[in-house]
Every structure is written in C-alpha cells, then in structure tokens.
Symmetry: C2
Subunit: 426 residues, 2 copies
C-alpha cells in the first residue's frame, strides 16, 4: 500500500497518522495472506485489488475533491439507506469503516462491552481517528434497524452529525406508509444538504445507475452456480464489499468485465477449485470489509463459498427498483417498496428470509450452510434457530457460528469448520 502520498490529505482529515499507518500495514499484510495468495484468480480481480490498495488513498482524494466542488458525501452503515437519493442530488454515498477490531477499547468507554463487533468497530474507528470516510463525509445517515445501532447513533451524533430514519419491524400497510414517509423526510434533508431539488429525471437516472450495479452483482452471483465455481467466495465477498466504497458506474463496468471473464471460465469448466469441492453457502450478518475471517477459514479448509445470504451479498442486491414512475413521488413509492423487500432479521416474522436461504441452498447446490452471526446480535442469533429448522427440513446441514472481529477464536473456528466440512463430505 502506498503510505506516503496521502499524508497531507489524511492530516487535513484529522486522522491519527501513526496509528493509521499501522492499520494500513496490518491490513496490507492480511490482504496478502488472505487474497493475493489465492491460486487461479480471475484476471479481472486486479481492479479490485487496486481499489483495496487505494481504499484509504485515491478514493478518499476523489471524495475530498467532490467535497471541494460542493458535492455532498454521505456515510451509511446499512442497506436500508437508499443510495439512489444521494446520487440523484449529485452526492456520493459511502459505507463507513467497520469490520475490524479497531478502537475497541475506546468504543467500550462509550458503549457496553456486550455490543456487537460491527457497532463497536464503527465507533472505535471514529474515536481513534482511523476512518477517512467518516471524516470526509458531511453527514452520516443512520437507521433504526437493530436496537444496538438505533441507540448507538444517539451517541455517535455527538461526534459526527447523524440523521436517523425509522425502519419498521413489520411490513403492514401502516408500516409501509411509515417507511415511505421516512424516505420523504430523508429526501428533504438531502435536498437541504445538497442545496438542490430532487427531480424525477435525476432520480430516475440514479435508479437506473444503482439497478445496473445490482444487476452486475446479481450476474456475478449467478455465475457461481457453476461447478467448478469460477471465483472464490473471498473474491466475491470482496467485490460485494467494494460496492459500498467505489464509484457506482466505474464499479459496474468492472464487475461486468469480470463476469465476461467468468462466463468464459464456466464455458471452459475452469474453476478456482476442482469440480466436486464442497460448496458452502454463508448466511447471516453482514461482513463489512476487512472482515474476511470466516471466508478465509472456510476456503483454506478445502471448501468453496458459492453464495452469501447477507447484506453484503444477495440480500442487498437481488431486488431491483421498478424503473417505471414519472414523478418524484412515484419513484419514491417504488424505492420504498423495493427497500422493504430486504429481509433483514430485525423484521418479524421474516419468513421471506427462510424461504430465500432454502432456495439459495438449492440454486447454488450448497452441500452445507454456515450461519454467521455477530455475538450480541439478537436478531440474527435468535433467527438462527428457525434457519436451522428450515434447512433441516430440506436435509441441508447447518453450522452455527457466533463470533466477533478478534482473531482469538481462529483455531476454534478452524476446528469447527473442518469438522463440519468432513460431515458434509461424508
């Protein structure tokens, strides 16, 4: 990673330079071990390797320049914040830093220790001055998905302006009306921040841009149904993670170029692992970059991950927004409907998610499913029981993992995953 070039930029953002250099070194090393050591990677991964190598550099420079041009940069932590609204107002939406065991001690001064790793991580990144995304953005948009985030945003707002929208728990007509009205409130806030009005034309263009991005990711995922799998689960996860940082149009182009290559691989029967390698589906909590722990454990234990039923995966990309609608209100209605299709475990009874997992297990010909939950995440850890039962009914074995971002449980994870894979193979 290029450490020197951006010192001035990072300084201007108020980062803790020394600690930040240390973080980049650690991540660079981890990336080498987890990603660059893979054999038989598609050539199209070069671009994503480059993006990662510049994730705190070139991309931050682009964002800082956008800010100088008067464009807004908005940080988010959840699929439920519609990127389309930001793009339609010439803004940029980025995911904020999380996914690493960074600043945990500082975060635990503010938050209870029994808070999930994702929340402690985004708080820790901020308190330790290690996230250039948080610093470069004008506003953070939070959402009332889980209790932990809902309450943590109240405190986060004391460090960075945070605007919170309400996500309901059910999908009744009144809950849909609430959600639709929250999108209206968010649109008004973003109009104010950007200093421009939302127009149907621009909103419609933004919908098409984001639809194209999701369609490209969907295409990528569909290619993984092949045996041998043409791309590793690690690489597919990385691409799903990069979507939250990169420019959407550039990103879409690169994903499609990669898919062209993967199509060719599938045609020729080329894979990242031999045909017949055990196929695993991962389902559960989002894995924010650089959270690559479980995929690394699974794929270095002789299996290949063929799908992610996750916010950073199919849960986030499978639904497109209807491109009909000629007024702002019309399009907002369609946006609202699309976003409420996301089957996050905070919803109840959320049977759609159970249906989707069993369907994915079949479509991707998974030999087993690993349910991945962050410790203290009540929605996913509790829903795991119903996931297990739904899969058992289809005779698909499930391994339940509960973990955090530390590396302490690596040996234990390895043992459990290997035992699971042996059982699956038998």
């Amino acid at each position: 990673m290029k450490l020197a070039d951006y010192t001035e930029l990072w300084q201007s953002l108020g980062l803790d330079l020394e600690a930040h250099d240390g973080l980049l070194r650690t991540l660079g090393q981890a990336y080498k071990e987890i990603y660059l050591s893979q054999k038989n990677r598609p050539a199209g991964m070069d671009y994503f390797d480059f993006v990662i190598s510049e994730i705190h550099g070139l991309r931050i420079r682009e964002l800082a320049e956008a800010r100088k041009e008067g464009r807004m940069v908005v940080g988010t932590f959840c699929l439920y914040v519609p990127e389309e609204l930001v793009l339609a107002l010439d803004g940029i939406a980025v995911g904020l830093c999380a996914g690493a065991d960074v600043g945990t001690e500082a975060a635990e001064q503010v938050l209870p220790r029994n808070t999930c790793a994702l929340i402690k991580s985004f708080f820790g990144f901020k308190l330790s001055g290690l996230c250039p995304y948080t610093e470069v953005c004008n506003l953070v948009i939070g959402e009332t998905t889980c209790d932990g985030k809902t309450k943590a945003y109240e405190l986060f707002n004391e460090y960075k302006p945070t605007f919170v929208i309400e996500v309901p728990r059910m999908k009744s007509p009144a809950a849909r009306a609430l959600w639709r009205s929250e999108l209206g409130r968010l649109a008004a806030k973003l109009e104010e921040l950007s200093g421009q009005p939302l127009t149907a034309e621009k909103l419609s263009a933004a919908v098409r841009t984001v639809n194209a991005k999701r369609a490209a990711l969907h295409r990528l995922n569909a290619l993984r149904q092949a045996d041998p799998a043409p791309i590793s689960g690690r690489d597919a996860l990385l691409i799903n993670q990069v979507q939250f940082y990169d420019d959407p149009v550039r990103f879409t182009e690169k994903v499609n170029a990669l898919c062209d290559e993967l199509e060719e691989r599938v045609r020729q029967g080329v894979g990242v692992a031999p045909a017949g390698t055990p196929r695993v589906l991962v389902s559960g909590c989002p894995m924010a970059a650089p959270n690559w722990k479980l995929p690394f454990v699974v794929e270095s234990s002789g299996a290949v991950i063929v799908g992610e039923e996750s916010c950073v995966g199919e849960r986030g990309t499978r639904h497109l927004v209807s491109e009909e609608g000629s007024t702002v209100d019309d399009i907002l209605d369609r946006l609202a409907a699309r976003y409420l299709e996301i089957d996050c475990a905070v919803f109840t009874p959320n049977t759609e998610r159970l249906d989707h997992i069993t369907e994915m297990a079949k479509t991707y010909a998974a030999d087993g499913v690993i349910h991945y939950a962050l410790q203290f995440c009540a929605p996913y850890t509790i829903e795991a029981a119903r996931v297990e039962r739904a899969l058992a009914a289809q005779e698909v074995p499930l391994l339940r993992i509960e973990t955090d971002y530390s590396m302490e449980d690596m040996p234990q994870l390895q043992t459990r995953v290997q035992a699971f894979l042996e059982m699956v193979r038998a």
Copy 2:
C-alpha cells in the same frame, strides 16, 4: 404458601408439579427474608402479602373460573399492550411469569445465551411448565419493543399462540399512525377472541378503571416524596408488580386504602427508616416479580428507595388516558396517544426519559440514582451513558448496575452499592 389446595388445578394446567412445589418453597423463603423481615411496615401491606402468597393459587383459580365462564384471559409482557382493550371485552389481562432465574438451561436450548434475563426467564418458565399464568391464558400478546423480545416471540408462538403488535421506534406522525393502526388490529383480534364487539361504553368504562388504578399508584408514589419515607422501596415495588396480576378494581381499592394509612404516617412523620436516611431513585429496566435482588441490596445497606423510573414504576403509571371521546375510534385515538407517551429506551432519541429522570431525582429529593440494566439489554445499557450525563449536569451521582436474575453477583452488588451510598452520604 399453601401448597396442597391447588394441586388439581395445577395438574389440569399441565404444570410440572414437583418442580413447581420447589419453586414456591424457594419463593416463600425469599419473601420471608426480603419482605416479612422488614420493620415498621404499613398494615395495608397485609393485603399484598396475601396476594403474593396466593399468586399461583387463588388468583389462578379466579382466572380458570373466568375461562370456564367463557371470558378470555390474555397474557402480556409489556406496558405497551393496552389492558383497557382486554377489559372492555370482559377479558382479563395478566402479566406472565418472569423475574426469576427459572428454566434458564431449557431457555438456552432455544435462545442464545446472550439474551437478557427477562426473556430467558419467560421462556424458561414456559419450557419448564412452571407458570400457571402462561398456561391459563388463551393468548399471549407480544410487541416489537426490543429486538430480543421481537425475535423471541416468533419462537414462543410455537409453544403458545402469540399475537404481536408493532411498536415504532420514533414518535413522528407516521409512527403514530402506525401505532394507532396496530391498536385497531389488536382490537379486532380481541373482538374475535372474546366473541363480542367493542363498544364505546365499555371501552370508556375500561379506560376509567385503568386510569383509577394508575392514579392510585401515582398517589402511592407521590407519598414517597416525604422524608421519612412512609413505605419501603421494596414494598412499593411489590405493589407495582402486583398490579399486573390482580383484579384492577380490587387492587385499586387496596392501594387507596394503603395510601390513606400512608398519608396518616406522613402527617405524623412516621417512616420505614429515620428521616435523613439516604434516598435512592432506581431507574432503568423493569423488575418483574420476584426480581427483588437490587432493592433488597440497597435497602439492607442503609438506604431507602423512594422511586422507580421503570416500567414497573412511574414509567408505567404516570400518564392517564384522556376520558373524553364518545366513539370507539375516538377512544382508541386517545389510548394510542397515551401509550406512545411511555418513554421506553427502545425509542430514539428518547430525551423525554432523561427529562423525567432528572425531574424525579429532584421531586423525590434523591441523593443518588442507581441505573439498573439487565445484561444484554442494548436499549437501556446504551442509554445509561446519556442518563449519567443528564444527572451529572444536575450534580446527582449515578451508579450503573448491569446484572441478571442469578444470585451469584450478590456480594459484588453489595460492595458496589455500599461504596456508592458512602459516597452519597459524604
């Protein structure tokens, strides 16, 4: 406690008789130590002692008889379920068992270990066949307050029919509309269950009944502003707990009779502890019966608890329903408005709660506040930071306690509470 008389009743409800006998013996012993050992108790507590001694006996017989007469008995776990709707349909609303470390092992077979004690307790009571309330009721009404309960109800429904209503996270006009529509949906469900239509006359009468109950509890709480306090915090908590089990009209009568006695005590300067005894306000998570651990620790350490900012306390009783309104819809509007005034920590940003705590600290002349949170309860454990700051601004010291229903941390709690009281006294 009378163990013999109700064997047949308990058997008919499918309780685990042996384990249930053991539970009653343990509770009887705890009650003796924590309650009956208190000095200088008001005579009016006799009634509540009697209710507790018959809480799995006489009251269950009443409920079983109501069922035989065709009346519905509805079980709830939260203030957000309006008792008025049940009463208006000639039904009975009761709180279900929780508050004790019972069936935890069984509950942890179904729920993650990192689930709060209240949820594990209500699940454990059901799985161990120890709660006659759960067994005698037709239906449980849940609510989407916290993530833990929202998701646990999905599983609880497999053991007992559970109807869940959505409680929003904010108090916007759309959130109010959602909540109002949920009350309509609940009313329809209860009409169906009871086989009768909701009428304005009966709903209005129910509103007056419940208002009278809350007003009596409010009167009780107000009397505790006196120094010396005329009643212990333990006894006041008990009364607040009994409200969820007893017949509301009988209960109101008895609370008012007790208040007459306490008024006389205040006039004569009689207290449960000498004037000048350190006064503590407890704020935070609800304490379901028989969860008396912290109050016992505090009051056996030389302080008196003068108020509860809790669902089982002022949070649940301070707001009355407007008695205007002549149609069912009118009254439902007023009910909805009243219930949304409850400042549960699941709401965001919930500044009303901070205001209420600081106001209570002043009104009750508290020397210190103990923030009581159940472990793994994200809403209250995270909100505690803002509570601490709000009180610090008023120079009111705060002690943050995070615990569960086990007795293992008693010595540690005692040490921390005693140190806090010494600091407060200094």
